[in-house]
Structures are given as C-alpha cells and as structure tokens.
C-alpha cells in the first residue's frame, strides 16, 4: 500500500490537464478505429500535443488504451451491483435497463471501445472478464434467480436476460452509424427506444399467471 504507482497523486495542473486531454483524444480515436486502427499521430493531433509528448505522459499506446478501460468498467459495473434485492424486482431491472440505455446515448464511445475489444476476442481485458465481471455476473444471476424462485418475475434464464439487456441497450451505441443511416434523427431514436425497451423487458419479466 506504499504508493508503488506514482500516477494519481502529486500532479501539477498542467499534467492533469494534459493527461485528461490525451484520454479524451484517445477515447475518440480508439472507439472509432480500434486499437490497431488508431495511430499515435491521430491522438497527437486530436489532443494538440506532439507525439513524443504523448509518450512522456503515457509510456506506450497500450498504456493509454488500458487506462480508458478503468473508468469505463467502473461506470458499467456500478449500476449492476446497485441492483437492490429488497426493491421491487421489475422496477429494479427496468431501472438498470434505463441507466444502461442512457449510457449508450450519452457515452457511446465508451460502449464502442468495449465492443471493439470484445470483437477481437478480449486480447487485452480477458483478465477483467474472468475475474471481476464474472463475479458480478454471478451475483446478479443469483439475485434474478431469487426473484424467480419467489415468483416475482417470470421463470426465464437469468444469464440470458442479462445478455439481452446488454445487447439491446448497447446496440444503440455500437450500431449508431447503421441506425443513423436508416433513420437520421438521433433524439427521436432514443425517445422511441426508451419506450420500446421498457415494453420489451416488462413483457418477459411479468409473471404469466395473474
């Protein structure tokens, strides 16, 4: 715990600003072009810094890339672990769906960054999937199963429920370019999506007895 990593603390204002500008530029580039498709020149141009200066702040291209995942994964896991087993099951789940859809609307680049990595077989974040994400997923699955056992939601496969929530919500970020080409008005798309996804998941979650 004796600060082996020197990154977070004791940075000048300029250092903090520059690192932030680099991350912003890198997110823009990596999310659109993937790791291999992104060049340090692009990041340098977008951040208005020189290429060597980038390497002064981050020791390699991969270093910048990996740092972007830290904040992304935090953001994505937080609402998942927040699922409250004491709350109303359907409202808890729908609330998670809404958060995730809002993330697709407001932070689509983060979603595309993740999709890029997974499409390639998770070469750089497999460690995270196997440990942290797997644990969280199993906890969530247990909560869903608990609600199923109590008859509060329909008897469905809890894991695939989670997959389909991810799939449907992230689709609006990851396939944004396709959607835009088919239907140019982004605001309208998300307004419709909010209504639709609620119907979709309410439809499968609602128990079929009463």
């Amino acid at each position: 715990m004796t600060s082996e990593t020197k990154k977070p603390e004791r940075l000048t204002r300029i250092q903090r600003e520059n690192r932030t500008r680099i991350r912003e530029a890198a997110l823009e580039a990596f999310s659109r072009n993937g790791f291999r498709g992104t060049t340090l020149d692009q990041i340098a141009t977008l951040s208005s810094l020189s290429k060597p200066n980038l390497i002064y702040y981050y020791k390699s291209k991969e270093d910048i890339y990996l740092e972007l995942f830290v904040s992304l994964l935090d953001q994505w896991l937080e609402p998942l672990v927040a699922l409250n087993i004491e709350g109303d099951p359907i409202e808890e789940i729908l609330s998670y769906v809404r958060v995730k859809l809002a993330l697709s609307r407001d932070k689509p680049r983060e979603s595309r960054l993740f999709a890029n990595e997974v499409l390639r077989g998770c070469p750089r974040i497999a460690w995270f999937i196997k440990k942290d994400l797997k644990n969280v997923v199993e906890e969530v699955e247990a909560k869903f199963q608990h609600w199923i056992d109590e008859g509060k939601i329909a008897a469905i496969n809890p894991r695939h429920l989670l997959y389909s929530i991810w799939a449907v919500t992230q689709h609006y970020a990851d396939f944004e370019s396709q959607i835009t080409l088919l239907q140019p008005n982004k605001h309208e798309t998300f307004a419709e999506a909010e209504i639709y996804v609620e119907q979709l998941f309410r439809g499968i979650l609602t128990p079929r007895n009463a």
Copy 2:
C-alpha cells in the same frame, strides 16, 4: 450488361480454389482483427499463398474485404424479405429470429465482420445501408405495422423490434469471446439462447387482451 466485370466466368479450377481459399482466410482475419488490423501477411499465411499472389487474384486488400460483404449481405437479407405477410405473424417473426440466431451460431465470423464495419461508422458500406438495407427495412416495418393494425401482434415500435432482434441474436456472435469467458460451454449457451429469445420476443409480440 456486356460483361464489363471479368470475375465470375471462365476461371480455371485452380483459380476458383485459390480465390475461395483467399476469401476463407480473409474472413477469418478481417472478422477478428478488422480492416486495419488485418495484414496481407496474415491472409497469405492463412491461405498458404504468397503475398504477391494474393494481389494477383485481388487487386487490393480492400477488394478482398468488399467481396466478403456481398455474400454476407445476401445471407442476411434473404430471410428478411422472406417474411410472409400471409403467414401467422408471431410464427413468421419467431422463425426469422431463429434463423438469425442460427447464423450467429454457425457463421459468427460474418457477423463480426459486419459489426466491425458498423462500429467504425460504415466507411466502406454506407452505400449499401442507405439503399438496399433501408428499402428492406421499410418493407419489413410495413409488414409489422400491418400486423399491428390487424391486432395480430401487440402495438410496439416495429423498427425497434427489428433492432432488438438484430441486437439480441448478433450479440451471441459479436460478444462470443465475452460469453465464452463467462461461461465456457458454447453448445449449452446456444441451446439456452434458443429458448430464451423465443420467450423474449413472444412476450412482447403477444397482444395483451385475451
């Protein structure tokens, strides 16, 4: 119509075989690494042909890439246009869902190839989305709307229904690496998925009166 393109006809057996081997190798590489991430060396190694020989058969890397999309897009559109407006609406739609899910299981590379391209903003296939796909989508939307008007399926947004079918089914191909890291048994995953997606879409399609 006077054969300007010399590709299809009049090829020797060796030429046909080599072109096929190149396409197979290119699909493997492009689907995993994207356009920029794929090198001619990789394709050459995978196809057991020399790099210059590749360029003998296809005039450029991009040429190989584009040809892969032709067969992919055919495959994807065919079951969409086959939606029969005379058939039972819910069964017609569920049947399309099953076909699409089977494509994710049996041809995941094609799905990833497409996802890669769309993630990057469709730089090379925007023309196709804006013309062919847009037309097909509008036809499908009209069929869905017709069924809604007749009260045979629930009143939902037809376009987002289509998006969610794509999202959920393609997720099993595009995010296969994530799913495998979370749950190694592929066969089991698809067996569960078949049941789940049917429940999911039946849930939203079934009218809420009777």
